[in-house]
Symmetry: C2
Subunit: 172 residues, 2 copies
């Protein structure tokens, strides 16, 4: 028993990042992205864009449609949905900021609920994310986070060009 505890300690100490820390890292980013959604005026959230890109509402919906079904897939290998939420790419997007924030918060809960069910060895397993992207599960989860940072950075440019100060990048 004490041997097993000692192993656990070694693992915790030597890992670059443990599952609980990665969850907190992601949720920190999600809190910031939520503030970026809130920073957009209602109309500009749905209509404003630069260079033919999508408005920030659609970028946020992409994050929602990836993260909700994605966390279930990462945990279970089933890439079909997010529990009772219909978050398929064919499902209609909300037409209000409030509607998007409501989905955002449901996905935040979904991630918190599903995360503890991810078996520790799962992060290093190979799986075909969304039936299309074959890679280690940690790579898939990092992709979710990186894609969110990428598109949120684009939202910062939209806001700046609207003369709106975005929330500080380092505040999570």
């Amino acid at each position: 028993m004490s041997h097993s505890i000692s192993n656990e300690k070694e693992i915790t100490t030597r890992a670059v990042i443990n599952p609980q820390q990665l969850l907190e890292h992601w949720q920190g980013h999600r809190r910031l992205t939520r503030r970026v959604i809130e920073a957009f005026p209602e109309k500009e959230l749905f209509q404003y864009s630069i260079g033919g890109m999508r408005p920030f509402s659609e970028l946020a919906m992409e994050m929602i449609r990836i993260a909700g079904p994605g966390i279930r897939g990462a945990a279970t290998g089933e890439w079909k949905g997010a529990g009772e939420l219909d978050l398929s790419f064919e499902s209609p997007s909300p037409e209000t900021k409030e509607g998007i924030l409501r989905l955002w918060d449901l996905v935040t809960e979904e991630i918190n609920n599903v995360w503890p069910q991810i078996p520790p060895q799962r992060f290093q397993e190979t799986d075909v994310a969304f039936g299309q992207y074959e890679q280690a599960v940690y790579e898939t989860i990092f992709y979710f986070i990186d894609n969110e940072i990428h598109h949120r950075g684009q939202g910062y440019v939209y806001l700046r060009s609207l003369a709106i100060e975005p929330p500080p990048f380092w505040e999570r």
Copy 2:
């Protein structure tokens, strides 16, 4: 001895991501960012911006000035410089794309050279990055990567608004 090997295996299997994988993850992002720098026309790299933000040359120089000294600091706790490279925030920026790419490549080598010197337990140690930001070393390294993704995403908007197709986000 076999006991020790068995421990190693356990650690490798159970960690979310190991140091070698995090290095590859970062360098994959850096390869993409390099392509984004290359995608800018010479003049627009230094002069074009949106909403009063910095041109992409300055965003790239921020990444260089963080990553070069940052990887040494992460490895050693000395946050003073990047070997023989003068990458302080007071050092002059190159005035050509070629000059920026040359620094970029030097920092890529610096990261590859310094990374193996990071003691495995170092990622979970607390340190005051750049004498200012007290957090675990893994958080500091993630911040370097996330800040790069954030600003590179902004470069995508600059390129799109210049009617230039950016490199695919998923190609590393």
